[in-house]
Amino acid sequence: MKYSAAKIFLEGIFGNRGWRKAWREPQPKKNYDVIIIGGGGHGLSTAYYLSNVYNINNVAVLEKGWLGSGNIGRNTTIIRSNYLLPENEPFYEFSLKLWEGLEQDTNYNSMVSQRGVINIFHSDPQRDAFVRRGNAMLLSGADADLLDENALRKLCPYLDFENARFPVKGALMQKRGGTVRHDAVAWGYARGADMKGVDIIQNCNVEGFIIKNGVCSGVRTSKGDIQAKKVASCVAGSSSQVMSTAGIRLPIESHVLQAFVSEGLKPILDNVITFGAGHFYVSQSDKGGLVFGGDLDGYNSYAQRGNLPVVEDVCEGGMAIIPMIGRARLLRMWGGVMDMSMDGSPFIDRTHIDGLYFNGGWCYGGFKATPASGYCYAHLLATDTPHPVARGYKLDRFRTGNLIDEKGVGAQPNLH
């Protein structure tokens, strides 16, 4: 069923009785060409691009809970491509271009809103670093605008420009960045994959892999064994747990990241504001809530909830840069489990076991990467060669010395 304005109009006349379920609830078959473990944003987008671009339709997505119940449902919905390194920027720009066409591609309203992402700077050296980053973005075909203090005052008069510790001197802005309705991304990809025949199997926990003589030929699940030519793990947050059943140790720690929503307010923030120096970023949702976040809690956790010191720290960051938000009350907060890789960059690669593929290590930047991650993973699964923009995301890059250290601070699992 194709969604359209005319369809909504007609259904309105006839009592909305013609809508059908957006995807089926199939039982698993015995055999698939590709099994994708994880029915979150990245898993569903992988299934979507496999079936819609690479014409591989005999695919199952296995999800232990319900569709989109992981980090695709728990993030702060920001999209941008303002990276520096040549391994990262083309990938994220590819992702942003896919975001721009997503709603037409999937025929699903994902509410892609290119409201602009503003990164504030406070000093000359920081301005220089942002100019360099902006130039790197332009070289990869992205957009970047340097705003001086006056231009920023016009856009965001509410910032604390005279802050004693972090006076606001300007910003790097990416106008094409913005926000997306995160759940709708998962639903749109699920529907698009399902229409091409992909089986999305919920409440199906993967308990292990079927591996013989270094070849993976399927998975053991709570719904029985399922055979597949290729098995693709896509479970960021739980990567270490799933891959440990194949005997693989990963360069990843799982950490908790908290996010927050205020009560609903009249429109006050037109853009996405990031205050890197104070580890705070914020945007306003269409319902009016201020959606904001900051740092990791900083210790290994699978708890999907954090502790109060970080709540205080994030709110202090907010008060420092946008004092007016102190008048808003905090409505909700939650935590998500992040695959924190050792250089802050992700993995899309084969493993040393034939037929077993790995996608993970997204740190806390996975949401914006959802379309490109799925596209590049589908490319790898279909062709057994890495997609040109995802060549750097190798699993063995720490062994070979090809780290993608966006922050330039060395091997730590708590970068970004």
Partner: protein, 98 residues
Amino acid sequence: MIIPHPYLGPRDACEFVYKGDAELVFRPERVEPVDYDAFHDYLYLRQNPAGIHKELWYHEYGDRSWLVVTRNTQTHEILKVEFASNYISKQKNRKSNV
């Protein structure tokens, strides 16, 4: 989280710096020929368990002791706290007895 320090009693986790898996106290020896795989595994790979995890906490805003905290990563419950020096000597004894 409240960390029960062996000497100082219950202390707010904010006073500590987290340094990750306690296995990091056992760095491979550098002997010729250098075992690069061992160093790679030591530096980059993690067990990252969902459940019981032994980890290093440094009491930076306190007595600057290194602690090994046994904590459940699924519930944040702290099960055991000991000085890292005691932990290391116990582990070394255990390993030499094996």
